[in-house]
Structures are given as structure tokens and as C-alpha cells.
Amino acid sequence: MLAEPTVTVAPASSASRFIRRRVLGRTRDQAKQERAVLILHDVTKQYPNGKLALRDVDLVIPEGDFVFLVGPSGAGKSTLIKLLIRDEVATRGAVVLDGQDVARLGRRQVPKMRRKIGIIFQDFKLLPSKSVFENVAFALEVTGTPRRKIRPAVDRVLALVGLSAQAKQTPSQLSGGEQQRTAIARALVHDPRLIIADEPTGNLDPLISWEILQLLLRINELGTTVMMATHNAEVVTALRKRVVALEEGRIIRDEVGGAYHRED
């Protein structure tokens, strides 16, 4: 007996958007139509060396969603992420982020688009010579945020990730989990529409991994859309969130409440 995997698109709860607006101070036009944060339409990416990294990928991620992106190494997860932050441009098809086709953005618009995405990596990518506070503030400084607005914004996200006490320490003085939480704070400080986590628990032990997961879930509950690429089968299967599985550049499975592996 085979159960068809249910492929549905969960609507974002208006309650979570309300909370998000209150907590993160978003001043978005409330009358704005409900829309998907991310749409990939028939996306194919072929690298100059001829390698087909993605083939005809269709994906819609509505606001407030929590999506696991799974699949073996080389399945196209990294390419997908590179397309979202416009490190690469799709060979065919459209990548639409928050209503904008990223391929059509001019050079000047790309940085502004990237501020709508908070990205977290396996290796944290913190600057070793800066303190926790400075690492987070850096994201605002280099985007031209007025100085007086930086401190309150940084303090707020550090409180959210629970690192207020460690603000003055440098990354080398922190544990792996604390470093990743610093990276999450930095990703959040622009109040992004979408958090992309690329193997965020890859370098962390299981207990700390759960801590990071819980933090991401909490951020999601506050209304931010989260997309997490991972190999961590235990976490994916336990949480029963939406799972998008890639293999050889194709989406082979997209189910809400799925497990890491196919269950049929």
C-alpha cells in the first residue's frame, strides 16, 4: 500500500506575521497581498564546464514556511543557495525573491536584495578579529546604517539568540554553538524575509545542534521564513516539517511533514 506524499503549500499564519511585526519592528504595508517569499520557476543551472547542477526546478516557499532542503552531496543544494543570493545566475528559468526576479536586478539592486536574506554557514564565517557585538554590527555598518540605530538593533538580536552576556568576547573565546548563534544574530540583524541556513549544524555535536535548531524554529515562529539545507536525518525526521529532496539537480520529493528519507 503506497501513500502518496502530500504536496501542499502551507499558508503563513497571520498571527505569526503580527508577532514578527511587533518583535522585529517590521513596518511592512499591512494591506500588501499575501505572497510567496521565494518562487523558483523551471530553473536550470548549467556551469560553464558543462555540469548540470539543477534541472527544471520548481519551488514555491510561502511566507512563514520552514523548509528542510535535503539530498546527497552534489545534488544541487549549494547551487540552489547560490542562485538565491545571486552569486550565480540561472541558465534558464526565473528565481523570484520577494516579488523580484533576481536575474533582472541591476548591479546596484543586488546588495539591497541580499539584505532581505540572512545566510548562515556551516563554518560560521565570523571575523576573528572582531567581538561578537562588532561581528553583528558589521552587517549594519557596511550597509550604511546610521550609527545611532546600530546599537539597539544589535542588542535586540543578541538578546534574541541569548548572547547578550558574550557581546564583548571574540569568536575564539566562544563555543561552536555560541559562534553559530552569533552568525544567526548577524543574519537576523537586517530583519530579513528569508533565513537560509547551509548545514548550520554540520560542525556541531548533537546536543548543540538541537539548540541551534530550536533557535531557528523560534525565529520561524516569530514569522521569518527559514530554509535549511542539511544532512542531519535525525533532526529532519523528528521535526516533521516540509522537506524538499534534491537528487542530481532535480526535486524528487516535496512533502509537508516529511522525514529525511522517503517513507513509502
Binding site: I85, D87, R107, R108, P111, K112, M113, R114, R115, I117, I119, K125, L127, S129, F138, A139, E141, V142, T143, G144, P146, R186, H190
Partner: protein, 294 residues
């Protein structure tokens, strides 16, 4: 705008000192290259001054007939002065010629034999200095055509040979200077590139958090300018320290050359500062560009 400039300068200053080893290595390379460039430039300037001095020495001497009249000589002088190739015309009468001859004999330590003579055996002459020594033949021919001229010392062949040598030296000097300049350019730009490369991580983070190109580029450009400024100031300090012994040596070596160090100093400051700051900016601009265009 002002906030942006302050931010960039502040970050440049921070970047310089947080990567002190890299920045100082870049500055040291800059100093060495600028010294090399300045050294060759000084040599080139000395060479040019020497060549010009040699060329100015070229003069056409025409001895006059003993029976040439004053109006004839005056007319000849006027005719020569009117020629565009001629810088100046001097008339040396027989008495002056004798005085000069005696002085030169004395300077060589030889006995003055003219006092045994009853009359002055020398001819009056016209000495013509040239604007452009390569036109010496034109002036020589004009003099030979004049009836009051007895003979013209034939220096044309010699002058042409000297001019061939000087023009080769000039070209060679310029070529060497250009080659040294290009070498300095590449080494300085590459050194700054290395310093930027060491900060690739920081640039990557800036891109990921959505920093605009200007916010990524300008701190590095200011830092490059700062390296250039520091490098050229150090270079000038070193040059100033060695200037006195060096110019004493130069004066000693060339002895006869009237080298003007006043204008040399001004040009040298402009060259070193311009090359230092310019290459610092260019180097960082190009290096950061690699990260921005994707």
C-alpha cells in the same frame, strides 16, 4: 556622503593596523620600488642635462678675411641673427683672440711664444651658437657663402656623429626608465593585491550581508592611498637623507655639468608622491574589482 567618507577612512585606518604585517610589507615594497624609480629618474635627468650641455657646446667658428670691413661684418652678424637656427652670434676681434690664446697657453702651462712676434697673427672670428645643433650645416653653408669669411672650421661631420650618440643615449635612457616604471607598477599593484587577498573573508562577509560595492571598495581604496602616501613619504625621507652626499658625488663626478637640483627636487617630489598614491589607489581598486564583478 560625509558619513560615508568618514566611515571609509575609518575602516581603512582600522584595516591597515589590524593587518599591520601585510600593510607594512606592502609599504616596504612600495618604498623600494619608488626608490628604484626615483634613482633611475635622477640618472635619466643627469644624463639629459649632460647631453644638453654637450650639445650646447656646439658652435660654428668662422674666421674672417683680414680686409673685411666693419659694415660687412655687421651685416653678416645681422644676417646670422635673423636665422631661426641661431641662438647667439659673437664677434671676436683680433686683439680678443690674442688675449684668449695667451690665456689658454698659460692655462696649459706652456710658454707664451706670441711675445716674440711683431704683429698679431690671429684672425678675427665670428662664433655662432646653435639653437638646434643638428642644423649646424645650414649655418656653416651660410657662412662659407659670405665673401668676408676666410674659412669655417668644418665640424659638421663630428657634430652629426655626436648627435647620433646623444639621441641613442636619450632613447635608451627613456626606455630603461619606462621599463623600470612598468616593473614598479606591477610589483606595487601585486603587493597590494596580496594585502587585499588576505582579507577575502571580510569582503565575502560584506557581500553576503548586502554591502553595496561602494561600501566594499572605498575603504580598500583609501587604505591603498594610505599605503601609497606612507610609502612615498618614507621614500622622500630616505632621498632627502642621501641627497647631500649624492649631489656632492654627482658634482664631483660630472664636474663640468651645471646640474640644477632645485627643479629636480620639485619634480622628484611630484613623481614619488604621484606614483606612490596613484599606484596605491589603482592597485586596491583593481584588486577589489575581482571580488565585486561576479
Amino acid at each position: 556622503m560625509i558619513t560615508f567618507v568618514l566611515f571609509s577612512v575609518g575602516r581603512a585606518w582600522q584595516g591597515f593596523w589590524r593587518n599591520a604585517v601585510m600593510s607594512l610589507a606592502a609599504t616596504a615594497t612600495m618604498v623600494l620600488m619608488l626608490l628604484l624609480l626615483a634613482g633611475f629618474w635622477i640618472i635619466q635627468t643627469g644624463l639629459l642635462a649632460g647631453l644638453q650641455f654637450t650639445e650646447q657646446k656646439v658652435e660654428v667658428v668662422a674666421y674672417l678675411q683680414p680686409n673685411a670691413t666693419v659694415p660687412q661684418v655687421t651685416a653678416l652678424q645681422a644676417q646670422l641673427k635673423a636665422m631661426p637656427e641661431v641662438a647667439s652670434v659673437a664677434y671676436v676681434d683680433r686683439d680678443q683672440a690674442l688675449v684668449r690664446f695667451r690665456a689658454s697657453m698659460q692655462a696649459q702651462g706652456r710658454e707664451d711664444l706670441t711675445r716674440y712676434l711683431d704683429a698679431n697673427p690671429l684672425y678675427a672670428s665670428i662664433e655662432v651658437k646653435m639653437v638646434d645643433p643638428s642644423q649646424v650645416r645650414v649655418v656653416g653653408d651660410a657662412l662659407r657663402a659670405d665673401p668676408s669669411v676666410r674659412n669655417v672650421i668644418n665640424i659638421e661631420d663630428l657634430v652629426e656623429r655626436v648627435l647620433t650618440v646623444t639621441s641613442i643615449l636619450r632613447t635608451a635612457g627613456t626606455v630603461v626608465l619606462v621599463i623600470v616604471g612598468v616593473i614598479a607598477l606591477f610589483i606595487i599593484i601585486n603587493t597590494i593585491r596580496l594585502a587585499v587577498l588576505a582579507r577575502a573573508e571580510e569582503i565575502e562577509v560584506m557581500r553576503l550581508v548586502g554591502a553595496s560595492d561602494a561600501f566594499i571598495r572605498w575603504p580598500f581604496v583609501f587604505e591603498g592611498a594610505f599605503v601609497g602616501l606612507l610609502g612615498s613619504l618614507l621614500t622622500l625621507a630616505i632621498l632627502a637623507a642621501v641627497a647631500d652626499p649624492l649631489s656632492a658625488f654627482m658634482a664631483d663626478f660630472f664636474r663640468v655639468l651645471p646640474l640644477q637640483f632645485g627643479s629636480l627636487t620639485r619634480d622628484l617630489v611630484a613623481l614619488v608622491m604621484g606614483a606612490g598614491v596613484g599606484l596605491g589607489i589603482l592597485g586596491s581598486w583593481l584588486s577589489v574589482r575581482t571580488y565585486l564583478i561576479r
